[in-house]
């Protein structure tokens, strides 16, 4: 807002007329500097905020395993999972929502279904180009 206000000086309305007042390159340089700012890289833990919300030690361990998987294994492979959310994200969500026992059972069930052999059984998430399969018990 401040940056644009700086530039807006040039086109500020004065009654019915617009006037141009800029004689330096400073506002343009500031604007271009903003355009050339590299996008911030989010940390894995920030991308999956659910991994930060743990109610017991077992959930903390499983969240840690999830983050290790996402950081060191999932980051190196091709996108293979047929579903959205992906199997690892599904596993984390299932454990958080249903508890450890039901969550692990649900995740095992999901892993056996992640093969792309029966797409007609699922709705399609057109935005993600994946099959929809949210956590449910």
């Amino acid at each position: 807002m401040i940056l644009w206000s700086l530039l807006a000086v040039n086109l500020t309305a004065q009654g019915h007329t617009l006037k141009t007042t800029q004689h330096t390159l400073q506002p343009d340089i500031a604007m271009l500097s903003q355009a050339f700012t590299p996008p911030a890289k989010p940390r894995v833990a920030d991308q999956f905020s659910l991994s930060k919300v743990n109610t017991n030690e077992l959930q903390t361990v499983l969240s840690g395993l999830f983050l290790v998987y996402k950081s060191f294994f999932s980051s190196q492979d091709n996108q293979r999972c047929s579903f959205h959310p992906s199997c690892s994200e599904f596993g984390l969500e299932a454990v958080k929502k249903l508890g450890v026992v039901k969550g692990v059972i649900c995740t095992c069930d999901r892993l056996t279904r992640c093969n792309g052999f029966s797409p007609e059984q699922y709705e399609i998430d057109f935005k993600m180009r994946r099959l929809k399969d949210p956590v449910s018990w």
Binding site: W4, N10, L11, H16, T20, F72, F73, D77
Partner: protein, 281 residues
């Protein structure tokens, strides 16, 4: 029914002296909202002024709408309003000003080719300070599309005629940019094909290079160990899907990482170029 009739009669009798906001009141409200920092309300109100006012207060509404959209990060809408200002501007200076603002909006949208098209529509020689601004934006647009020599030629006149430390730094930064852009994603992918992780090292991403090397090394060890201890048919059946997943993924990622790293480094380099211009001026 009686209540409805009563309401209708009251409404009819009141409609003679009740009235909505007129254009001037709406404009005053829009200005007040802008001053108070209520961006969204100001935006809607200025849109109303522009819609109902026609050419009355058009210039103010358009420029304020462009500024408000830009401050909200909606640079495509801002560019649209700057374009309207450009079309209806009465003087050359105002037209140039609107065009530079539109160019800035396009650059912020990461659309340097469109920005370049706008800038090339300007006359070859402009009076100062427009010429310097044109050079700056042209340089930025050319740099974005990796036309470094053209960008250098655009920006060099912004420095004084005599040699200075800033000018030397400027030349050094351009040589660095050319070196960064010379690396090819195809080479990175090929390197990773022959030696997992090598493409990532080539791109300058040591962490991902080590990660890929370790992962593929472990899977390779698992393949060989299974082959020796059991049979290579067993090794093929058990390890190959994993190996294919991470080996193939590593090759693809090497190219992606290089492209992302190049983009990041070039952006940082141009920020430094802008700093040298700022110091020089």
């Amino acid at each position: 029914m009686k209540r409805r009739l009563l309401f209708f009669l009251c409404w009819i009798s009141a409609s003679g002296w009740l009235g909505g906001q007129n254009l001037e009141q709406t404009l005053a409200f829009a200005r007040a909202q802008y001053e108070a920092g209520n961006t969204l309300t100001a935006l809607k109100t200025y849109q109303r002024v522009l819609f109902f006012g026609g050419n009355v207060h058009r210039d103010e509404s358009q420029s304020q709408l462009a500024t408000l959209h830009a401050s909200l990060g909606e640079f495509d809408r801002a560019a649209f309003y700057y374009d309207l200002i450009y079309q209806s501007a009465g003087t050359d200076s105002l037209r140039y000003e609107a065009l530079f603002h539109k160019t800035a909006s396009l650059m912020l949208q990461q659309q340097p080719k469109k920005a370049l098209l706008e800038l090339l529509a300007l006359p070859k020689n402009l009076p100062e300070p427009w010429q310097s601004r044109k050079r700056l934006y042209l340089g930025a647009a050319h740099f974005s599309i990796r036309e470094f020599e053209l960008a250098r030629q655009d920006l060099l006149p912004l420095f004084g005629a005599e040699d200075s430390a800033q000018k030397a730094e400027f030349e050094k930064l351009f040589r660095h940019a050319e070196r960064v852009a010379r690396k090819s994603p195809k080479t990175a992918r090929l390197l990773s094909m022959f030696f997992p992780g090598a493409g990532q090292f080539y791109a300058g991403d040591v962490k991902n290079g080590l990660n890929s090397l370790l992962l593929n090394g472990l899977l390779g060890y698992w393949f060989v160990a299974t082959g020796i201890n059991y049979s290579f048919i067993d090794a093929g059946a058990t390890v190959t899907p994993w190996l294919f997943r991470y080996y193939g993924g590593g090759i693809r990622k090497a190219g992606e990482i290089l492209e992302a790293k190049q983009e990041e480094r070039l952006k940082k380099t141009f920020q430094k170029v802008l700093q040298t211009i700022e110091v020089e001026r």
